[in-house]
């Protein structure tokens, strides 16, 4: 294995992990400040200037609280659950391209942990197993309210995953690739060929559906069925205390950060910004990364804004919205997109018919396969493994 590649990737992993934790910690402060601002209050301002040290104080407090495990809880699973929640939350960031590639000491460094060519499916995969932390935690607590919360959350997440998956298929159709890096690259700049390049302008409905489903996937208000306090005490983490509770809360903020980053990457051009062609090299990389983080922070703000504006949905309203509104809308959107693509650049378009007559010689599947594997499919995932 190439040593410099190993160093490069481990640096990116460590830095990404630290940034994720740091942002998640400061989201707690941001949440309280945003809430205070929306409700015309001051918010926490005692710890350090403007309350900037508040997350440290909160974290320290969490560590020194009594760590209590109920007598009838499933001990092993009770301890495993918060770790699982945190693990799945932190894993998702691996496929997001955080900035344009950097040219440094004669090699191109992608600001991404792994550009696997199934990147977006990886995100869905880890989003769908994120529910296990909550389910196992809720069940292992041996508390009726926790169990209710676990069951509610899992059915909510399964329901909203469907609409989210369909929307992602729409985006994949638009870009023709499952790699998040490619999807971001295709939204280069801001304006090209007489239209916006960002996906939000091409797929506004898909963006709205994705925003709503990611709110539900993060268990954020107005979809925070998991911990609806007036019905379920504290939901799945009722029995948790100390840093185990902290991990659950922290995992939620990590999820929020990753969701905001994915929205920024899929719909708002990731690290692309208007006028980016005027810059190059390291300047472009730094600016692009900053722009991406600015977009991410903006979406975190939008999530908080929604939380402090809308009241919680009732459970049947949530299911009604998910199954009867969002999924049909997403499907109609998908079909329309597919038809438009088929007529503009797909099977029924003029240049494709011309191309088909040329390609008719390579009808044998093995020949097609070999061609594909030679040219395009030297996946970088393999490079990462057996470099």
């Amino acid at each position: 294995m190439d040593i410099s590649l190993l160093i490069e990737k481990s640096t990116i992993v460590v830095v990404l992990f630290l940034i994720t934790l740091g942002i998640a910690a400061y989201q707690t402060l941001m949440e309280r400040k945003v809430a205070a601002w929306m409700q015309d209050r001051v918010g926490p301002d005692r710890a350090g200037p403007f309350g900037i040290l508040q997350p440290l104080a909160d974290g320290g407090k969490m560590f020194f609280k009594e760590d209590f495990i109920p007598k009838n809880a499933e001990r092993g699973l009770f301890i495993l659950a918060p770790g699982l929640a945190m693990f799945t939350a932190a894993m998702t960031g691996a496929v997001i391209p955080w900035g344009p590639p950097v040219e440094m000491v004669g090699r191109t460094i992608a600001l991404q942990v792994a550009d696997i060519n199934i990147g977006i499916l990886y995100v869905i995969g880890f989003a769908s197993i994120g529910v296990y932390g909550i389910m196992i935690g809720g069940w292992a607590s041996n508390n009726k309210f926790s169990l209710f919360s676990a069951i509610r959350t899992s059915s909510q997440m399964i329901s909203y995953e469907l609409a989210m998956g369909i929307v992602i298929i729409t985006i994949v159709l638009m870009s023709g690739s499952l790699s998040v890096a490619t999807i971001v690259e295709q939204q280069h700049g801001f304006w090209a060929d007489g239209y916006f390049t960002w996906n939000v302008f091409k797929q506004p409905l898909a963006f709205i559906i994705f925003l709503v489903t990611s709110l539900a996937e993060c268990n954020r208000a107005p979809f925070d069925m998991a911990e609806c306090e007036n019905e379920l005490i504290g939901g799945y983490h009722t029995e948790y205390s100390s840093m185990k509770l902290g991990f659950f809360l922290f995992a939620e903020y990590v999820n929020l950060f990753i969701s905001a980053a994915i929205i920024a990457a899929l719909f708002f051009g990731g690290y692309n910004f208007p006028g980016m062609d005027n810059f190059s090299g390291i300047t472009l990389s730094i600016l692009g990364t900053l722009v991406f983080f600015a977009k991410t922070v903006f979406f975190i703000f939008v999530f908080m804004w929604i939380r402090w504006t809308l009241p919680r949905f009732r459970y049947d309203q949530l299911m009604h919205l998910g199954w009867k509104k969002l999924i049909p809308l997403a499907m109609i959107n998908l079909v329309i997109t597919a038809v438009v693509i088929a007529f503009t650049s797909g099977w029924f378009s003029e240049d494709k018919k011309a191309a088909a007559t040329v390609e008719v010689e390579q009808k044998q599947p093995t020949a097609v396969l070999n061609n594909a594997s030679d040219s395009r499919a030297s996946g970088s995932f393999r490079v990462n493994l057996n470099h």
């Binding site: 699973l77 696997i116 060519n117 199934i118 499916l121 990886y122 869905i124 995969g125 880890f126 769908s128 197993i129 529910v131 296990y132 389910m135 196992i136 069940w139 169990l147 676990a150 069951i151 899992s154 059915s155 997440m157 399964i158 995953e161 499952l178 599947p365 097609v368 396969l369 594909a372 594997s373 395009r376 499919a377 030297s378 996946g379 995932f381 393999r382 493994l385 057996n386």
Partner: protein, 170 residues
């Protein structure tokens, strides 16, 4: 032995071990959790074979959806050792006979197996999504589309069952 072979053996051993734990563990919820672990390890095996698409689909479909429903139902029922339905002696004898018969059939089938040298084209790029899609939509297009009809009919059946129940209530 190369590193990747050691990895494959360790991963395979863990997979078999956790699959055995599914049967061996007395508590149904623990059993399902071991099944989830088994699916994860199978995903690991797929990744080792560079079948990325299959790996992630295994996670999304089995680990992320099917097993969540399993766990869901088991948590609802809250089965434990105390309220587990007791199996009678007759059941145990029947199970032993059925299992033993299956084993005899398998042994009989495997007795005369001749190991032919397998000559598959070695192509570790085959599991990548582009190549898999190319294969599915050219060579295996008929089975692929037929299986989608199977899923549609299953969905229609599920909807029909749900609808019929509602009509009786009305």
């Amino acid at each position: 032995m190369s590193g990747i072979e050691i990895l494959a053996i360790v991963l395979g051993g863990l997979t078999v071990g956790s699959a055995l734990m599914v049967v061996a563990s007395p508590h149904p919820v623990r059993s399902v959790l071991f099944l989830i672990l088994t699916f994860f390890l199978i995903t690991g095996n797929y990744v080792l074979m560079n079948a990325q698409f299959l790996a992630i689909v295994n996670i999304i479909v089995y680990t992320g959806a099917v097993m969540v429903l399993f766990l869901f139902v088991l948590m609802f029922l809250n089965l434990s050792k105390d309220n587990e339905p007791r199996s009678s002696m007759k059941m145990k004898v029947a199970a032993t006979v059925a299992g033993g018969a299956l084993m005899i059939v398998i042994i009989a089938a495997l007795k005369d197996v001749i190991m032919l040298p397998i000559d598959l084209p070695v192509d570790n790029q085959q599991g990548l999504v582009e190549n898999l899609g190319m294969l599915l939509f050219t060579k295996y297009v008929l089975p692929f589309e037929v299986s989608s009809i199977l899923f549609i009919s299953a969905m229609v059946g599920a909807v029909l069952l749900a609808k019929r129940e509602k009509q009786i209530i009305d």
